[in-house]
C-alpha cells in the first residue's frame, strides 16, 4: 500500500480546501492560503502514513496557514507580497456584503462556521482544530450563523434586494 500520486490529492481535495480558505479569509487571501497549504503538504507528503485521513491533514495545515495570515493582517494591514504566478484577484462579486459579514465575525465563530457548516465536521473535530470545548465550538458555530443572518437582514433591508 503506497501513497497515490499527489495530483490525486489535489484533484480530490482542492475544491474543499479552497472553500474552507475562502470561509476563513475571504476570496482573495484564500488563494495565497491555498497555495501555501498545498506547497506545504506536497513537501511533507512522502512522510504521510498511507492510511492517514488526508482531508483532516490538509485542513489542519490550512487552519494554521489561515491563523498565520490573520495574524499578519492584524500586525500589518497592508497586502502581503503575492506568491509568484498567483492568479489575479477575483472581480467584485454579488457576495461582497456577505464576505464583509463573514470577515467581521470573531475568529472563533468564523472558524466554527467554516469547519462545521462548510466542511461538515462534527463539533468534536471542530473543537480539536480550534481548541476549546465541544460545547464552545457548538455555541460559536450557532452564534456565527446568527450574526451572519442578522447582517444579511440588515443589508437586504437597506438595499431593498429581492430575496
Amino acid at each position: 500500500m503506497s501513497l497515490p500520486p499527489f495530483q490525486t490529492v489535489v484533484d480530490v481535495h482542492g475544491a474543499t480546501v479552497l472553500r474552507v480558505c475562502r470561509a476563513l479569509l475571504g476570496p482573495v487571501d484564500a488563494q495565497d492560503a491555498w497555495s501555501e497549504t498545498f506547497l506545504s503538504a506536497l513537501t511533507a507528503y512522502p512522510a504521510l502514513p498511507a492510511d492517514a485521513n488526508v482531508q483532516a491533514w490538509l485542513v489542519t495545515i490550512a487552519h494554521r496557514k489561515a491563523v498565520d495570515a490573520l495574524r499578519a493582517r492584524s500586525r500589518a494591514p497592508v497586502p502581503l507580497a503575492h506568491l509568484p504566478d498567483r492568479p489575479p484577484p477575483p472581480v467584485p462579486t454579488p457576495d461582497d456584503d456577505l464576505w464583509a459579514a463573514v470577515a467581521a465575525l470573531p475568529d472563533r465563530q468564523r472558524q466554527a462556521v467554516a469547519y462545521h457548516h462548510v466542511l461538515g465536521l462534527p463539533f468534536r473535530e471542530v473543537a480539536e482544530l480550534t481548541g476549546g470545548t465541544v460545547a464552545a465550538a457548538r455555541r460559536a458555530s450557532a452564534d456565527g450563523i446568527a450574526a451572519l443572518r442578522r447582517s444579511r437582514i440588515r443589508s437586504s433591508s437597506t438595499l431593498q434586494e429581492t430575496p
Partner: protein
C-alpha cells in the same frame, strides 16, 4: 431570511468562481513546485496522432512515456511507488519532450535530443542501448539485437526487454521486428507499430 437561507447564501458565495480560481491555483502550484525542485515526477498527458501519451520526467530527464492503453492512472501509481509520490501534472516539466514527440509523430523530426532518466540495469539496459543504435527508418530483428548484446540465444529476453521499455518512441523498440519482417508485438498496439514504421519509411 432564516438560518437555512444564510447557510445557502454562504455556500453560494463560497462556490462562485471557485472552479476558475482553482484552475489558476493548480497551474501555479505545479509551476511553483517544479521551480522549487519539490517534485519527484512532473508529467503531462498530450494528444498526439497516435492517441493520448503520458510523458513523465524527473529532475534527471524523461523517465516514462506511456500509451493510453497502458492505463495512465496505473502508470502514475507505479511511478509513485517506485520513484516517489510527489507527482503533479506539470506541463512545463515535460514541454520540450512533448514538443519533440509531436514533431517526430508528424514526420518533422528524425531523432530526439533529450536527457533521459533510464532506470533499468543489466541485460534490459544492454538491449535498450542496442536499440538506440538503430537509425530512423531502419529495422532490426530480435535475433540481431540479441547478437549485438553478445547473447545470441536470448531472443525471447530481447522481446521481453522491448515490451518493458519505459521510454517507447524515444528509445525505438518499434524498429525491432520479427525475422519474417512482420511487426511483432508492441506495447502501443500492433497498429501503432505499423504506423510508426510506415511514418519512418515515407
Amino acid at each position: 431570511m432564516t438560518s437555512a437561507d444564510t447557510r445557502t447564501d454562504l455556500h453560494t458565495a463560497l462556490d462562485r468562481g471557485l472552479a476558475d480560481d482553482l484552475a489558476g491555483l493548480r497551474a501555479a502550484l505545479a509551476a511553483d513546485a517544479e521551480r522549487s525542485g519539490l517534485l519527484d515526477v512532473g508529467y503531462d498527458i498530450v494528444d498526439t496522432p497516435i492517441g493520448a501519451l503520458l510523458v513523465a520526467a524527473t529532475g534527471q530527464g524523461v523517465v516514462r512515456v506511456a500509451f493510453a492503453r497502458e492505463d495512465h492512472d496505473q502508470v502514475l501509481a507505479e511511478l509513485a511507488a517506485t520513484i516517489g509520490p510527489r507527482i503533479l501534472r506539470a506541463p512545463a516539466a515535460v514541454a520540450v519532450a512533448a514538443g519533440q514527440l509531436d514533431e517526430y509523430l508528424r514526420g518533422r523530426r528524425h531523432g530526439f535530443d533529450l536527457p533521459l532518466d533510464l532506470r533499468v540495469s543489466g541485460f534490459r539496459q544492454q538491449v535498450l542501448t542496442a536499440l538506440r543504435g538503430i537509425g530512423y527508418g531502419a529495422t532490426r530483428s530480435y535475433a540481431e539485437i540479441a547478437a549485438v548484446t553478445g547473447s545470441p540465444r536470448a531472443v525471447r529476453a530481447v522481446g521481453t526487454a522491448c515490451a518493458r521499455n519505459p521510454l517507447p518512441l524515444l528509445i525505438p523498440c518499434h524498429r525491432v521486428v520479427r525475422a519474417d519482417g512482420s511487426p511483432g508485438s508492441y506495447l502501443g498496439g500492433a497498429e501503432v507499430k505499423r504506423a510508426l514504421l510506415a511514418l519512418e519509411a515515407a
